[in-house]
Symmetry: C2
């Protein structure tokens, strides 16, 4: 094991909270942390995996915080190296001060996913397990989370091993034939081809499942769109108010679209309020509407809010027809002036719609119920995979499928088939991170958060 620098990072999200966890990993972890510990002797003697309470001090001896620490001895740690975890008070200022001190003492800031990368390099986990940890952290629904846990628990290993062993058996047969010519039994050869096709079928299934899962893993998005002044923002705020567990806020690239991440019936969902669609010559507005249309294309569920007291414009009709999964909401249904007309217009495009008046309390409930139904429909399509949950794995499995195709195509020319069969074995190894492809593996860890 080559000696690596000692790294430090905040392992919990930045922000004000009760607690925060700072992780330090590397051969010098203990020594580096000790420099900032007030009760050095006690810390030195503390056993691994036992909580100790200490003062963290700066170089002048000034106390920064009272913390608890946990020591881990190599290789019995997450990274496989010596590690220390500092559980400190969750103030942004305090966290920054402590990390600063640890860096002054000789550690450096960890890169994204560097802790997990070290766990991989130290052979604590294979690359699929590393990827699964990231999938678990980023999972937005129960099925996705369980799918990741299956891999963290190593269930993929058996499947890949099984496939690999089958291919190895076929290679053995093929190479025997190459060596001894056509003396080999036809029956045996048919059997091998059948086995190969069985693996191909299983791999095909994986690819199809992954395709369906992909869209759900990307995150369900709800877009609120429709003509101007139809009550989109009112509905947006009402929906957000209903579910108070807002987890993060982010403004769109422009002020024209505003998004919030909400936990909606236990699932994290991004909900976006867009600029109203209308005919305009104003340049800025045109830009806003362009963005709205882009959002609509991206969205899994579009809530189309339209007003009962406005006629349907050609613009609106055109948009509405093009939207795939939509919930149509006729707002201001208290104003009956053009209600019937609007209903008739909508009816030509979509059988189902809800009529509400957002002025009334709890009027959003019926929309929320519809959203729930749509989400359930989307989630039902999620399937547990045996192996593939990331793009990297998906690409490799497709390569394997393509090589299987080549094997089948060149079945009669065993020398060529053999090359592809050996490539398949390599791909399986790569899938598990067992062959030297540093650049590819590095990319895996770049998608992690810092501190993981």
């Amino acid at each position: 094991m080559e000696e690596r620098e000692t790294i430090v990072a905040l392992a919990t999200p930045p922000g004000v909270s009760a607690l925060a966890v700072i992780r330090i990993s590397g051969k010098q972890a203990k020594q580096i942390v000790k420099k900032s510990i007030k009760e050095k002797e006690k810390f030195e003697k503390e056993k691994e995996r036992i909580l100790g309470i200490y003062g963290i001090i700066d170089e002048k001896g000034e106390e920064i915080d009272k913390v608890t620490t946990i020591k881990y001895l190599a290789p019995k740690s997450y990274t496989g190296e010596e590690m220390v975890e500092i559980i400190c008070h969750g103030g942004i200022f305090t966290i920054n001060r402590i990390v600063e001190e640890i860096i002054k003492n000789g550690a450096r800031c960890a890169e994204k996913g560097e802790f997990t990368k070290r766990a991989f390099l130290n052979k604590k986990i294979d690359i699929i397990e590393a990827e699964a940890i990231n999938c678990l952290i980023n999972s937005r629904n129960e099925k996705e989370s369980r799918n990741a846990l299956k891999k963290i628990n190593g269930e993929h290993k058996k499947v890949i091993e099984k496939w690999k062993n089958e291919i190895i058996k076929i290679i053995a047969e093929v190479e025997t034939e190459i060596e001894f010519g056509e003396e080999i039994e036809i029956e045996n050869e048919k059997e091998q081809l059948k086995n190969l096709e069985e693996i191909e079928r299983e791999i095909d299934k994986e690819i199809k499942k992954r395709e369906r899962n992909q869209r759900i893993e990307d995150g369900i998005e709800i877009i609120i769109a429709g003509p101007v002044n139809a009550g989109k923002s009112t509905l947006f705020n009402k929906i957000l108010g209903f579910e108070r567990s807002i987890t993060s806020k982010h403004e769109g690239t422009t002020r024209d679209t505003v998004s919030e991440n909400v936990i909606f019936y236990g699932k994290q969902i991004k909900i976006t309020d867009t600029a109203g669609i209308r005919k305009t010559n104003n340049e800025i507005e045109i830009e806003g509407i362009k963005r709205t249309k882009k959002e609509i294309e991206k969205g899994n569920i579009v809530i189309w809010v339209t007003s009962a007291d406005e006629k349907m414009s050609d613009e609106e009709r055109r948009e509405l027809i093009n939207i795939n999964r939509k919930i149509v909401v006729i707002n201001k249904s208290d104003k009956e002036i053009k209600e019937k007309e609007k209903e008739a217009d909508i009816g030509k495009i979509q059988n189902e719609y809800v009529k509400i008046s957002l002025k009334e309390e709890k009027s959003e409930d019926v929309v929320i119920k519809k959203i729930k139904e749509e989400i359930e429909k989307i989630l039902e399509q999620y399937e547990f995979t045996d192996v593939v949950q990331t793009k990297r794995q998906d690409l490799i499995i497709r390569e394997i499928k393509s090589e299987i195709g080549k094997v089948k195509k060149h079945w009669e020319t065993k020398e060529i088939a053999s090359i592809s069969l050996n490539k398949i074995i390599e791909y399986f190894e790569e899938c598990l991170g067992k062959i030297d492809k540093e650049e590819i593996y590095n990319k895996v860890f770049e998608t992690f958060c810092i501190g993981k």
Copy 2:
């Protein structure tokens, strides 16, 4: 100790990260967590303050996450009750699932500050220490943080004790005089009055320090203001880009002002971009400008961005004169057309200003340097207090001051002076949370975050 319900809360900020800590406190903490632990027997036997690795399962036995847990036995825990901390993977979905399970098992969601409240009720800490924990978490600079730590380490106790003992001595003298009449020695009485005035002086100092600190503790704010099209938003984005440790985002009440919290030279600072100021009849714009003016009034530092190629309007002149702590930035100084004129106009109001052209790279550096200087000036005014760091404490100390005034005023009528002196003792007790004022103490914990 009355038996309280077992409570659960996320102790780290919501968001996606490597780790999250979930806290459970109460007599049933261990039993409740055990229900969701896969390896029940091992968990049962695990000693306190030792890390154990476990699977967390739902009621169907389905694994939700692999976690580490730490058990704490009462009274050797933060709250003084039985506690369990679960360190889980930091995914929003995973966290929610685990908290849900713990609630299903019999815990309830903790209220804001409820863990610390229990620590207080179980006499692990006094109320000033509880408040200091919150001050520490929310501190935005080193001095504030150290001021809080002094209280967490109990330094306030000595001072209050000293004051209290002095008052008790005076009470003894006064009550002797009430009982035995004017037989008491005049010399002794003068001495007591001198002591009382000494306490008064010390308390006065505390109040003054607190007043200065208050504004800094409220958080330093930077407001970017100025006429329209002067480059305010460009400067805003350039400043944010310079310091990448953005900790949170929040949109203003309207889309007219956009704020970001940044860690700027180690201090958390809110920086706000405002709508441009100009004469207008447009109602929405007038509203925006009103808000801008309100922001300017609030801001500790106003960066006034003005354009070299525009004449100074009366509106701008009026605003500029009214701003207290300002950094004047003349942008577009590449366009020399009206530059000299603008400089002359500015010069009439403010000696110092910086001339930049935001089109040029790193042009913001000189503004950032100015900001740093202003922040340092503000922070230099922060002073360490012996006791007072919160509004509650401030109010009590002012009551004490007022009662001391009454004692002095009625010094000749010892019966009346005695009442005030006894009130002072009560206020000291209240300051430490030693007398029954549930409602007042509850308010303290309402300002905490959930999980603390």
